[in-house]
């Protein structure tokens, strides 16, 4: 489902408005997971991307960023990715920072980073893409001073979807890295 040019423009405009709205509320919502996918992805879906994906993570960023003590495993354990991307989105950096802090303060704690993709494309290539996402998180933790011996990467590719369905909502929930302690 390819967007017509005017629809792309509309989708981008809507998503920009949505992002702006988030910023106005202080950036504490885990919103607009994939606001611009409709305008960017090769197979991005029209319209739904902007409105439907705001509720993907049940845990707001506030939870993750709020775990300052470093004594408890941060509650937010899933971060999400854009289509065909392993770039860590700025809104999820506080989640990763919280996990890095926890792991640094608890050198005996181990975490497995489970990399996942959406269902589109071939399974074995997606397995490799899931590993790329988890590796990106591992590098972030490494830069934050977490010992490599505490972190392991396991990619599940598209094999363990968090949500079923052939639509952007489900896809957005499935493109994720999960911290498994």
């Amino acid at each position: 489902m390819q967007l017509k040019p005017y629809a792309r423009t509309l989708a981008v405009a809507l998503s920009l408005a949505f992002v702006a709205g988030c910023a106005n509320t202080g950036g504490t919502q885990d919103g607009s997971l994939d606001g611009t996918a409709g305008g960017r992805g090769e197979t991005g879906t029209a319209g739904t991307g902007t409105a439907g994906t705001g509720q993907v993570s049940g845990t707001g960023l506030g939870d993750g960023a709020g775990q300052m003590a470093g004594s408890r495993i941060p509650e937010a354990r899933t971060i999400y990715f854009a289509y065909d991307s392993d770039t860590i989105r700025p809104e999820f950096e506080p989640v990763l920072t919280a996990h890095a802090r926890f792991l640094r303060s608890n050198p005996s704690a181990d975490v497995i980073l489970h990399g996942h993709t959406d269902e589109r494309g071939t399974r074995e290539y997606n397995l490799a893409l899931g590993e790329r996402r988890a590796n990106a998180v591992e590098r972030f933790l490494d830069l934050q001073g977490v010992s490599p011996s505490q972190v392991e990467v396991v990619s599940y590719g598209e094999e363990r979807p968090a949500a079923r369905g052939l639509n952007e909502d489900a896809y957005a929930q499935n493109r994720r890295v999960v911290f498994a302690y």
Binding site: E124, L129, E131
Partner: protein, 429 residues
């Protein structure tokens, strides 16, 4: 570690004659207008003798499924001869049948004797006549062998109805899932459970002798490649390196396994000598290399690499340099050679999603064969006439098949759950 890897382990999860059937049924979705009309007359049996299987119906279904034949419906037959001598060719010319199959079955000393003949209606001659015996439990297999003979007698192409398929089943979501690995007859019947697990099972691949499967199982919480003997259930863990252990593919001589491993960083293609476990690294790049498969000659590998940005197919002669094969569109992955090496079947992604396509290597033409938006895992029949693949129907994963020319197709839905990653066996006899 080495001792562990070289020791055959008994797979405790394997059950034989499992009642947990995962049989698939056939739904013809598109017939070919070029299919040849044929009539398969119900086989005559002695008064009061009922067999557990309708052999003529199985033969008729096989021939229809191939896309090469258009069997006449039984209710349109106004004569039911059971031997060549009794055939009045004019009856069948009037029904536009080009070929005719007639036969008889009877019980003989605890077995079933099947006598059948293939008649050429235009030439008014007998092309094939044979008597075979089978136990009642082997009647489906006997029917598939008859289909093979008829198919070859008419088309000149070896029939692949007696082959099998392996496939993966899945149900549930996220952390609560069940996975199964099955083998079944090529028509989806007679399924046999190979493995079940709460963790993903992926990438089943047949050994060239049809006796073993290599596959990826996450049962330890990490992916590892296993090799399992189907008949005995005995298996060995072939690889469990750090990172990805994925996409096993047997060399045509059955002695080596190509695979994708990320133990050295990025996923790269390796070839393992199965007897010695020695690994040879084939690719060296900073991109993803996966989904290897062998050229029928065993001289080169075909694999997916995203070194150009998106996934594309490359041909890599062993000991040589890789050459890019696909240039049409931004997503071409998981290629498999046709048995004669003239074409590659692959997944082609574009504006309409992901479909099975055929790349003719002579002309470089790419032709889309399937019609869904999320097709995966093409696997070619050993005679090259059909490709089986994973597709979607009503939001659930099912198997689909399409003729190599794209003219005819059918689906193999399961009673429940998702079916995926079909792998067509080699010829088994």
């Amino acid at each position: 570690m080495k001792a562990l890897m070289t020791t055959w382990l008994v797979a405790m999860l394997v059950t034989f004659a499992s009642l947990a059937q995962a049989d698939l049924t056939i739904e013809i979705t598109r017939g070919s207008e070029r299919a040849t009309p044929i009539a398969v007359v119900p086989f005559e049996s002695p008064e009061g003798e009922r067999l557990p299987q309708d052999v003529a119906q199985i033969v008729s279904d096989d021939l229809e499924r191939s896309g090469y034949f258009d069997p006449l419906a039984r209710e349109e037959m106004f004569a039911t001869p059971s031997s060549g001598e009794a055939v009045k060719f004019g009856d069948w010319r009037a029904l536009d049948s080009r070929y005719l199959v007639v036969g008889q079955t009877r019980r003989e000393a605890g077995r079933v004797e099947i006598r059948y003949e293939l008649m050429d209606v235009h030439g008014e001659s007998r092309m094939l006549g044979e008597v075979i015996t089978a136990s009642e439990s082997q009647l489906r297999g006997a029917a598939h062998r008859i289909s093979d003979k008829i198919f070859e007698a008419i088309t000149g192409i070896r029939g692949a109805f007696s082959t099998r398929i392996a496939y993966v089943t899945a149900s549930g979501v996220a952390d609560d899932m069940r996975f199964g690995l099955y083998v079944a007859d090529a028509d989806g019947r007679n399924s046999q459970q190979v493995l079940t697990s709460d963790e993903p099972i992926m990438s089943p691949a047949w050994s060239p002798d049809g006796k073993k499967l290599a596959y990826v199982s996450f049962e330890t919480g990490r992916p590892a490649i296993y090799i399992q003997e189907i008949a005995s259930g005995r298996r060995v863990r072939a690889t469990s390196f750090e990172g990805l252990n994925s996409a096993p593919s047997w060399s045509p001589d059955g002695r080596r396994l190509a695979m994708s491993l990320s133990k050295d960083g990025q996923p790269e293609i390796y070839v393992m000598d199965i007897a010695t476990r020695n690994l040879t690294r084939i690719t060296h790049s900073s991109s993803i290399e996966t989904e290897p498969s062998w050229h029928p000659s065993g001289d080169s590998l075909l694999y997916t690499s995203d070194r150009s940005g998106g996934p594309q197919l490359y041909r890599h002669p062993l000991g040589g340099e890789p050459e890019r094969l696909t240039f049409t569109g931004g997503y071409n992955a998981r290629g498999r050679y046709a048995p004669d090496g003239d074409a590659v079947f692959l997944i082609h992604g574009g504006e309409r999603g992901y479909q099975v396509a055929r790349l003719d290597l002579e002309s470089d033409r790419l032709i889309t064969l399937s019609e869904s938006h999320q097709d995966e895992s093409p696997s070619v029949a050993p005679n090259g006439t059909m490709v089986i693949f994973a597709t979607q129907q009503g939001g659930s994963g099912v198997l689909g098949a399409v003729t190599a020319d794209g003219r005819a197709s059918f689906r193999l839905p399961a009673a429940q759950g998702e079916v995926r990653e079909p792998a067509w066996s080699p010829f088994l006899d």
